[in-house]
């Protein structure tokens, strides 16, 4: 993806605003339970572990690992040209919190399961889309 693709953007609502705008501050944020520290994604009103309601958007390191991926070759979306790498990454702080994302700044034939990656943001209007690139410091 040499050029910035025409992304279909998420609808920003109060429950997800911290996530989609965190990139303005360079932060990847998830809801976190104040009581037991569980990260929660997608956002929900209660901690799934303790059912507590005291949840705070919290910045994580942005470090993650590729759990799995696919190289997409089909032109599904006008202006979003294949081939490109779609991946599910697991965040370093809590591996069962995953994001579907794109792996960028990386040749598609070098994307692999287990690849250490870190977040980068791509701004579109009021949203900051979290993408991931190889993390040279953990290669």
């Amino acid at each position: 993806m040499a050029d910035v693709p025409l992304r279909i953007l998420p609808r920003v609502v109060p429950e997800t605003e911290f996530f989609w705008t965190g990139g303005a501050a360079g932060e990847l944020r998830f809801l976190r339970c104040d009581d037991d520290g569980t990260y929660i994604h997608p956002p929900q009103p209660r901690c799934p572990k303790c059912l507590g309601k005291s949840l705070t958007p919290t910045a994580v390191s942005g470090r993650a690992t590729v759990h799995t991926f696919t190289i997409n070759h089909h032109p599904w979306i006008p202006g979003f040209d294949p081939p490109y790498a779609v991946a599910i990454v697991e965040i370093e702080e809590q591996p069962d919190v995953r994001l579907t994302t794109n792996i960028v700044n990386c040749p598609i034939d070098e994307v692999r399961i287990g690849l250490p990656v870190r977040v980068v943001f791509e701004q579109h209007d009021d949203t900051y889309i979290p993408l991931f690139e190889p993390d040279a410091t953990r290669a």
């Binding site: 693709p5 025409l6 992304r7 279909i8 953007l9 998420p10 609808r11 920003v12 609502v13 997800t16 994604h41 997608p42 759990h67 799995t68 991926f69 696919t70 190289i71 997409n72 070759h73 089909h74 032109p75 599904w76 979306i77 006008p78 202006g79 979003f80 294949p82 490109y84 779609v86 991946a87 599910i88 069962d96 995953r98 994001l99 579907t100 994302t101 794109n102 399961i113 579109h124 209007d125 949203t127 889309i129 993408l131």
Partner: protein, 404 residues
Amino acid sequence: MPDILERKAVISGAGQSDIGRRLMRDGLDLTLDACIAAIDDAGLTRDDIDGICTYPGPMDVPPGFSGAGATQVQDALRLNLNWHTGGLEMPGQLGSVINACAAVAAGYANHVLCFRSVFEGSAQARAGGGRAGVTSGGGGGGFRAGGFMQWTLPFGAPSAANWIGMMAQRHFHEFGTTREQLAQIALNARKNAEVNPNAIYREPMSMEDYFAARMITTPFCLYDCDVPADGANAVIVSRADSAPDLRKPPLHVEAIGSALRGRPSWDQWDDLTTMAARDAASMMWSRTDLEPSDVEVAELYDGFSFITVCWLEELGFCGKGEGGPFIEGGQRIARDGQLPLNTNGGQLSAGRMHGYGLLHECCVQLWGEAGERQVQRDGGRPPRVGVAGNGGGPIAGCMLLTTD
């Protein structure tokens, strides 16, 4: 073991409309063809039908995903119903049949008409769009994604092909599964479709053809993906004690599987290599003394080839991670093999009937009505035990059917 109340239910008839890539016919029209055929097949009349259950109910988006809802059929056939329901939130497309079994066992209805119809092929042709129906680009204006799609659409991953492709890739990574192995799901389906006059794709396909096809999203090529089509299927779920009123010996519902124990998400599901088939299969086997080795025909969802591999493993036809070696070469899953699989050509070659086509085929095989593609066990009899599994990713439901 609890009371297995689904055994109070039987499948008394099955019907299918014309099936085609683009029939350019109305969804309700196709639906009624299948429903009337199923009622006739059971030896009933519409006056006998007192229940309806369908998946997913009326939906305009994606185009053609639902040919008709329950009340449209009730109205068109002027049915007098005691019980009716339809919806999307259930254990896969088969959830509608599972619900009908419960309704019959509870005494809400005597004969429940269950159906699923699609006209995605025609609807997409009319809209001039592609498979995913994604026509609006990004940038500032227009459509914005909510719900689950907000987590995938911004990343150019609008299709279950992408999501299940990633599950397959993880399976390849953990267990060494290969594209050569996966190809057998597509090749087996095509071989069966060659002798199914109602199948859409009947030209022979070779391993070379498979590898020559364009990639959609790794590891899936074109032939790993089903194709939007038009058609409808229906079955009648009846009270087991209504058998004397029926035209032919009904099929017994031995056990159903409807469990959901993981997160209902395409990317947060705990073990992506299992899908929800893990939970549904586990529940189904907990409700019967039969075992995987008793199954003589398997009709397992193949919206994408890998889903079938997953069902094979989770239903216990082979060990976890052994799906690749199990299907390698294709002999075990052939019509004359140990476990005849997707004997009508599945969705990959017979047409994307969204689960119900596979259930229809399971019934037809057990009744011995499959013609040239009929599975013959022990030198000539039809299979006695069949399993149908529907759904992929976080969606799954399954049923074990027997002839006696």
